[in-house]
Symmetry: C2
Subunit: 245 residues, 2 copies
């Protein structure tokens, strides 16, 4: 049987998963941040990523719908407001649409999700289902990829601003805001799993949940890479990128 890890060792293993599997390592991100994509390819990325963003409130609401503890629900609720907006905050989804607006995409094309790659939908809905079917501990653990997000967001802001003439600071506000939010969000979730994973089996489930979430993110980039980079062969009905400019 596996030994029970202390909290710091569990955190070390969680961070190791990020170092090996987080989608910051995906070749698509090197192209995106390095200025090596056309505007059409960046559009394809932003349009598909909206499908993921739009599902995050449903994911968090699904997770919350299974929390029987009121204090936990209250703690988690700010994530929903942060994405959907409220009290003068336009919300993360609106900030993402400012990005897609800036890229010249039609809002209805984006919000209808009708041009999204099927593989994006499948990955995204697998994530929503995961938090609906697995334990609350695993659902919370699956959010822990936020541990790794600030680094990629910083890289993305700097890289995209430097490398694309069609990107300006105004459209990058989603990522700037997430730089502030993610550390707060992840602090609670990390403390929770370190405290509540009390058996080797639960700790393994926590680690597996983070691997699963890394798979969800990675699969989206694989699909984008296949459809829009190499062989650049989008499936029938999917968004067609503009010719490389």
């Amino acid at each position: 049987m596996k030994p029970l890890l202390d909290g710091d060792e569990l955190e070390t293993r969680l961070r190791r998963i990020g170092a090996e599997r987080y989608h910051s390592l995906h070749p698509f991100h090197a192209l995106l941040h390095g200025g090596r994509l056309s505007r059409g390819q960046v559009q394809a990325w932003a349009l598909n990523r909206y499908c993921y963003q739009a599902a995050i409130p449903r994911k968090d609401l699904t997770l919350m719908s299974r929390m029987t503890d009121r204090a936990m629900r209250r703690e988690w609720l700010h994530r929903v407001i942060e994405h959907d907006g409220g009290d003068g905050n336009p919300g993360g989804l609106e900030r993402w649409l400012i990005l897609t607006d800036g890229l010249g995409l039609d809002r209805d094309d984006v919000t209808s999700l009708r041009l999204v790659l099927p593989a994006t939908r499948f990955a995204v809905e697998a994530y929503v289902r995961f938090v609906g079917e697995r334990s609350t501990l695993e659902g919370i653990a699956s959010s822990l990829t936020e541990l790794f997000a600030p680094a990629i967001h910083k890289e993305r802001i700097a890289g995209m601003l430097a490398n694309y003439d069609f990107i300006d600071d105004g459209v990058m506000q989603y990522f700037r805001r997430r730089l502030e939010e993610a550390p707060r969000d992840v602090g609670f979730a990390l403390a929770y799993v370190k405290r509540e994973a009390r058996t080797p089996e639960q700790q393994q489930a926590v680690l597996d949940a983070v691997r699963f979430k890394c798979d969800v993110l990675w699969a989206q980039l694989d699909a984008l890479h296949h459809a829009y980079v190499e062989p650049a062969s989008p499936p029938p009905g999917a968004f067609v990128a503009e010719a490389r400019s």
Copy 2:
């Protein structure tokens, strides 16, 4: 085939369901409001009803987790905050616990749900599942028993204050607050179903959802009446009421 009703006729039929099936008509409520229950029987009611109250945020979160429209989620969110609390509002669950405190019940006995009648749990969880499995239209429609709630809350506040020396105004704040909230909540939901039920089948589903919800409420009182009034035979493990004082 049934005809398509206009919105006002649909509302008339919804209100007729309330007039025939809402739990205000249940004999248990006549006893409760008329001062004909012992403190122990009122405790049994409040303890079991907490099981229902505690599930309402999960019900609303389940419904919201299926809403793909951000504006709809934002509209519905205030119900969750209203029950769970936030921003200085202690919330409906906390107000219900002020009632159970006032009745001399131990908080852990109440919040653990371990003394609740199994039939209460079954009815309550059937409601949570209903909104998770049926259409969003039916989920929203099932909230429309709020149309009928202000009348019973007014009757309850007046009746219980007049008829029980162990009830004072402080412990009735849950119901006073609901008198303010329910009309706002129900206004949105009623307009929604009148607008969105566009076929005879959808209108029938709306009417059936309200009947279902009436059943959920009625079944809880049947179980209470059987366990604590006549034959006053609580099932093994359930709360035991004090002797009639």
